[in-house]
């Protein structure tokens, strides 16, 4: 039997002007996994935060493996009020971007939510690359994802798309 579409864009946004938050809401529960692709630049030094279900309580933790072009390192954070991804600030110079992907597995299930992030920023002489696993200790299905820029804003030209992936 031929399956229907199994990798579908749910929503997408391209910022025409600076914005402090990108929100995906009313996410249907009909998929198996979610994938968010964020290509972002900051208007000033800023560290993005990812919040699920508009829940900013201390239910987030992460383990991170990072390469900065010189050395590899690993860090961990627990009892956080968001996923702090990436660990480094967004680039701010014109025509520079950070590529961040987030795979949220079994987002509509009734178990804690595991998220796999990748962070890729190369600035021709600086930057970092990282793989981050996050845990959101809530059994509620994910219906909303907020990506907050942090202290500053996302610059115009930042793009974000959320895809739904079906297992069958």
């Amino acid at each position: 039997m031929a399956a229907g579409a199994t990798y579908e864009p749910i929503a997408t946004t391209t910022l025409g002007s600076a914005a402090s938050t990108i929100t995906f809401s009313s996410i249907p529960s009909t998929y198996t996994d979610l994938r968010v692709v964020l290509v972002a630049r900051g208007t000033a030094t800023t560290y993005p935060q990812w919040i699920l279900n508009n829940d900013a309580t201390a239910l987030y933790s992460r383990t991170e493996l990072t390469g900065n072009g010189t050395a590899a390192s690993s860090t961990r954070g627990s009892a956080n009020s968001a996923f702090y991804v990436p660990n480094a600030a967004l680039p701010t110079a014109a025509n520079t971007f950070d590529l961040i992907t987030a795979d949220i597995f079994s987002y509509a299930g009734s178990t804690f939510k595991t998220v796999l992030f990748t962070d890729s920023t190369d600035l021709n002489g600086s930057g970092e690359v990282a793989a981050i696993v996050g845990l959101y200790r809530s059994t509620t299905a994910i219906s909303r994802v907020d990506i907050q820029a942090g202290a500053s804003t996302f610059a115009a030209g930042t793009t974000a798309t959320i895809y739904g992936i079906k297992a069958a």
Binding site: Y7, N95, T118, D119, V129, T161
Partner: protein, 170 residues
């Protein structure tokens, strides 16, 4: 709903060759994904990716994070002529039937902006030589990606495969 994850082209090698080319890539998608599985015909040599013939040299750069089963390390290369999968493909002397497998993801490839990309590749051989690698890539020019070249000096072994997908965000 229109198909939003589409195979643009593929190439599974029936003979050894040193490069694979995807040309005339349509600009109608949002992102590109190259999924590859490759092995070398000779010594273990690196995999090189570059886009659009005629692209000025020294406009590619990358930051890498690598684990080899013994240690993790990071490196950086700027002003290059290609992106590199830093660790070598399985050589002809490696455990039989093992391949380097990876994804090269290029978002917003048809937008007039510099191109960021991520490469995630793995090689496991049940031996002492194995790698997991994550690369952050940058192409510092703004033209649309219309061609993608993958090459290795010693040649790709028979059975190496390359799949290019287009992903639409709407």
């Amino acid at each position: 709903m229109a198909n939003t994850y589409t195979l643009i082209a593929s190439n599974t090698l029936t003979g050894s060759q040193t490069s694979v080319t995807f040309s005339s890539i349509p600009s109608t998608y949002t992102d590109l994904l190259l999924r590859y599985s490759a092995r070398s015909t000779g010594a273990s040599l690196v995999l090189r990716f570059y886009t659009n013939s005629g692209t000025p040299a020294s406009t590619f750069s990358y930051t890498s994070l690598i684990g080899n089963g013994a240690a993790a390390s990071s490196s950086r290369n700027s002003a290059q002529s290609y992106w590199l999968d830093t660790n070598g493909l399985p050589a002809s002397t490696y455990t039989a039937n093992t391949f380097n497998n990876g994804d090269l993801y290029i978002p917003n490839y048809a937008v007039s902006a510099t191109k960021v990309a991520s490469n995630f590749s793995v090689t496991e051989t049940n031996a002492t030589t194995a790698y997991i690698e994550l690369d952050a890539n940058l192409k510092g020019t703004t033209e649309t990606v219309t061609q993608l070249y993958i090459e290795t000096a010693n040649g790709f072994a028979v059975g190496s495969s390359f799949y290019l997908y287009g992903i639409k965000n709407s």
